[in-house]
Symmetry: C2
Subunit: 284 residues, 2 copies
């Protein structure tokens, strides 16, 4: 099933033009809205699928820089990090990481003839688990924070929609008013104007969702700034990962690279910070 | 000061003979016993020093396999993980890892001309932080678990002394009765007989300390098995790290390699498992 979905998704990715990208972007956004609002089994399946494809893509990027992770362990860690939030929220992430380290050690010992150093294989595995697993865990931690209330769902949408607005505004403001290039070595098309536009976009959506959640204006301002800045850093970082892997142009979707990771890169950074910010400033 | 200590310690390490090793091993064990029993400032200083030297050594091993970490970030993460247990135990390790990832991203972007891929630098940094920082954090978590009681100190000694007994018994039983080699590709001198001896050693010390803590025999058995097995796996894994780095013979202390990491390798794996085992089986 997973391979079928991947096949389908690669075929879509090959139709590389702006229209397809906008359509697939809007489709993914609407789909995630739908499953987060509906919840239950569709949400489990959706999140599991997104996580699996993201791991497939990240693993390829890691292999291209000669740092392959311990594949099965990376899948296990991400999947357990994701689903523990549904089924065993008491399970400690630190215990999981320690278990991952121990199991990875044993795997590395068994494969001790491998030309990849054990520390590199472990490093890639832990990097992947933290880069992909931690944010998904925290979306679900936010989502499940309020028993029998829609506030968790509303908070999740606040983050996801703010990230989407940040992406979109950064793109259009950058294209219209962009003059000063932002980080040309990593992502030549990004501009300072676009970055500011992204933060404004994040603020607008955070304001609307925040008022629905009865948040004060200061809280909303801090939230949207954290989301807008960290989302754009996440976007840049994924560009750097692709650049390191020799997949230069983030605009060209080479089959098997980019794809889901390109879509969710900005959404991967904010959730952990939003969660602890909301806790420590008593917003929840 | 740190460099002075390192210099002194390297000079000692160069006097490579069994007597020196036994003396320095016993000295380190007695010193750690003393600071854990005394507590307070000497303990902070001792743990900080051990963590710093361990990071220096691990960093060299990582550089030798062409996977240098982001050095300052690795120091920061390990030091904060260690001292947060004294000064800010409410600080979430997951938040620290997420912050480390974000700060590492920005550092990697600034150094984007580096020939080391960003994912490798991040992987090595996270690996180091988890491999060294997590166990020290958990020793201190065990140590500070009981307010105004010596039970935390006793529990910490239970783990540290069981690991030491495991190491010692594995060595002497292996040397006396060892016939069947255990993992010759990684550590040629280890034998199955030695490994069993190590677990027996761990049991003897766990039994003595466990009775002082009024633990039942089943609890003691489970604890000593977890400690004995994970300590020996930790020992093997550090041998693999050195082997990957081209520092072949774990008996020859080449200046700058081995040293503290050689001494503490077995102690790095048990604490996280002991902590959650003690919690979930209501031993604390």
């Amino acid at each position: 099933l997973v391979e079928d979905c991947l096949e389908l998704y690669l075929r879509v990715a090959r139709l590389n033009n702006t229209a397809t990208r906008i359509i697939s972007g809007v489709f993914l956004l609407l789909l995630s809205l739908a499953v987060f609002i509906y919840g239950g089994v569709p949400l489990y399946v959706f999140i599991g699928l997104v996580a699996t494809i993201a791991v497939i893509e990240l693993r390829r990027l890691l292999i291209l820089v000669n740092a392959p992770p311990i594949t099965w362990l990376l899948y296990m860690l991400v999947i357990v990090l994701v689903y523990k939030q549904f089924f065993a929220p008491f399970l400690s992430t630190e215990l999981l990481l320690a278990l991952g380290l121990l199991v990875g050690f044993v795997t590395a010992m068994i494969n001790s003839k491998s030309r990849v150093a054990a520390s590199i294989a472990m490093g890639s595995t832990l990097f992947g688990a933290i880069y992909l697993g931690l944010p998904i865990e925290y979306y679900l931690r936010i989502y499940t924070h309020f028993y029998g209330s829609s506030r968790g769902m509303m908070w999740t949408l606040l983050v996801l929609l703010s990230v989407a607005a940040c992406d979109t505004m950064a793109y259009f403001v950058g294209r219209t008013f962009g003059k000063h290039r932002f980080f040309p070595r990593i992502s030549p098309k990004k501009t300072v104007e676009g970055a500011v536009g992204g933060i404004v976009g994040s603020f607008i959506v955070s304001f609307i969702m925040g008022r629905l959640l009865h948040l004060g204006i200061t809280d909303i301002g801090v939230l949207s700034l954290v989301i807008g800045v960290s989302a754009q850093l996440g976007d840049l970082f994924e560009s750097l990962l692709k650049r390191n892997a020799g997949v230069k142009d983030s605009g060209t979707l080479i089959p098997g690279h980019g794809g889901i990771l390109d879509r969710i890169d900005a959404a991967l950074i904010p959730p952990v910070f939003v969660y602890y910010l909301a806790i420590s400033l008593h917003m929840f």
